[in-house]
């Protein structure tokens, strides 16, 4: 911002109607000066105060350099004097408050111009318009809000960074641990190969246990890797026939002979992300198949329109999940009592929930075995994906 500006066209109240006499103009100036709306200070060529006019500048010391009593101008003498060299230039210092016991605490606009005819400077001191109590309060509230917003933004940034670091850590750990786990499985293969063909009993059984644990660990690592990358992969948006997709999922999963599957409802064609939707359906339908106690049962997979979402339900008639376990089943690696021996990494529902969060969807579990057996996982899949 420049300190010196060209003087614009004359400002102030326009002279309307008959001409204003010199006496009237002088009276108006006197009123404004008396009300301390403005004050005038004349400075000689060396910026020494020669005279002043108006109560607003009564603190100015006559005969002393202007900077001695108008503190903000102290040290700016060269800048002020520069207005003399440029036609119609003005030096402006806006909204300054002189915090001195000798000067008013008012906020002032200071302007200095060179009056070539008189060969002296004129310092025009104008009081910045009074703020009402309400304006002051509003200004304070605005500042407080700005500060609060800055703090909230900072906290959100910290949280984002922490989440990113955690995801990176999980991704690196799960990826790097898979290699030694594979090596471990190969070594088990070799050990089993070294056993005599007719070897049975304790050693063979122990090796089988180690293999099972190693495979489980590999499965968990793969699940963790998928979980940490959920929502970060660049999937392609394309037209997806959701009925064809769900029927493909059902057909591809192993199912016990006593289970029947029904796909019904209104399955639309969506412009959406096929791979994440496939992941969601595959995990939920797969869970229903895996955890059903059998020997007979029915799985119903339905879809309906629900505002901006397609609501998909995966309903089974198994034992259900008690309400006190509803939160736990969505946590990574958590498995309910009784399902420890069933295959899987324990990451399925966590992965489904994280994927849905990434696309702006929701996952809800409806189940209360005390009232009715079975459970229903309800997916709200957005018809339109979020912009990001």
């Amino acid at each position: 911002m420049s300190s010196t500006k060209r003087r614009g066209p004359s400002s102030g109240v326009a002279n309307r109607g008959r001409g204003v006499t010199r006496g009237e103009r002088h009276a108006a100036i006197e009123i404004l000066a008396a009300r301390e709306v403005f004050g005038l200070v004349w400075l000689d060529a060396d910026l020494v105060v020669g005279a002043s006019y108006g109560g607003l500048v009564s603190f100015v010391t006559i005969g002393a350099p202007v900077g001695a009593s108008v503190l903000p101008l102290l040290g700016l003498e060269a800048n002020i004097k520069a207005v003399r060299d440029t036609t119609d230039a003005v030096f402006e210092l806006p909204a300054v408050a002189i915090m001195s016991p000798l000067a008013p605490a008012s906020r002032l606009n200071l302007s200095v111009i060179w009056m070539a005819g008189d060969q002296r400077y004129l310092l025009f001191v104008e009081r910045v318009s009074h703020r009402t109590g309400l304006e002051q309060e509003l200004a304070q509230q605005m500042r407080a809000r700005l500060m609060a917003e800055a703090d909230a933004t900072e906290l959100a940034g910290r949280l984002t960074r922490a989440n990113r670091d955690l995801e990176a850590f999980a991704s690196i750990v799960s990826h790097d641990l898979r290699a030694p786990m594979r090596a471990l499985e190969y070594m088990i293969d070799e050990l089993e190969g070294d056993l005599p063909a007719d070897s049975t009993g304790h050693l063979g059984a122990r090796l089988a246990d180690i293999r099972a644990q190693a495979q489980r660990m590999s499965l968990m690592l793969r699940g963790l890797l998928e979980y940490s990358s959920a929502g970060h992969k660049d999937h392609i948006v394309a037209a997806v026939d959701t009925r064809a997709l769900v029927e493909g999922v059902v057909a591809s999963l192993p199912i016990a002979s006593g289970l029947t599957v029904e796909v019904d409802g209104d399955w639309p064609v969506l412009e959406t992300l096929a791979a994440p939707l496939d992941l969601v359906l595959r995990n939920l339908v797969g869970n229903a198949f895996k955890h059903h106690p059998g020997p007979r049962g029915h799985i119903r997979i339905s879809a309906e329109s629900e505002g901006d979402f397609v609501r998909i339900g995966v309903q089974d008639d198994g034992p259900g999940i008690a309400p006190e376990h509803h939160e736990v089943v969505f946590l990574p690696f958590r498995r309910l009592t009784g399902s420890e021996d069933s295959p899987g990494s324990g990451m399925g529902l966590a992965l489904v929930q994280r994927t849905l969060e990434a696309v702006g969807g929701r996952l809800t579990l409806l189940s209360d075995p005390a009232r009715q057996p079975g459970c229903t996982f309800v997916v709200d899949w957005p018809r339109v994906l979020p912009a990001h």
């Binding site: 040290g75 800048n79 402006e92 300054v96 408050a97 915090m99 200004a139 500042r143």
Partner: protein, 168 residues
């Protein structure tokens, strides 16, 4: 006594005005009144064994100006700056680094120091979470409290001595 202009810079609400009022008037106001524009104070630094007396013209600036302050007429002929942050708000400490680079660019060769204010609000044993660039900066950094007065006079006296040492 010679006079030198020192700018007090920093984000909104870090306590710039409180520091200056504590220095000049020896008072502290709990009510927050934001500075609009600039408040100009005078404070006389007495002579010391290492320096002559000097009158500091303290320009307490509106934190809302942000980095526009460096292009503003307010900045003209500033001999030094005291850059203030709030010990309890990390974002304001990060901003101190930005203010420092802005001042160094706008007023090359001029002294600036840092005041980490509101240190009285830290819990016992707690330290301000300084950004790396700030903790590594060679310019002096002092923890202050406008409420208790801790280090307030010291930080301005140090600035005055630095200004005189540099002949500014």
């Amino acid at each position: 006594m010679s006079a030198r202009k020192i700018m007090v810079l920093g984000e909104i609400g870090v306590g710039k005005s409180s520091l200056v009022r504590r220095l000049v008037h020896k008072t502290f106001e709990a009510v927050y009144n934001p500075t609009i524009g600039v408040d100009v104070y005078q404070y006389d630094v007495p002579p010391s064994e290492t320096g002559a007396p000097v009158s500091l013209i303290v320009w307490d600036t509106d934190g809302n100006l942000g980095d526009a302050i460096f292009r503003h007429v307010y900045m003209k002929e500033a001999a030094a700056a005291l850059i203030v942050g709030d010990a309890t708000r990390r974002s304001t400490l990060d901003s101190m680094v930005t203010y420092a680079s802005g001042f160094a660019e706008a007023m090359p060769g001029r002294f600036f120091g840092f005041a980490v204010n509101k240190i009285d609000l830290m819990r016992p044993g707690e330290r301000p979470e300084l950004p790396t660039a700030l903790s590594r900066d060679a310019n002096p950094l002092v923890e202050t409290s406008a409420l208790t007065g801790e280090n307030v006079t010291h930080v301005f006296h140090e600035a005055a001595r630095a200004i005189l040492r540099r002949g500014q």
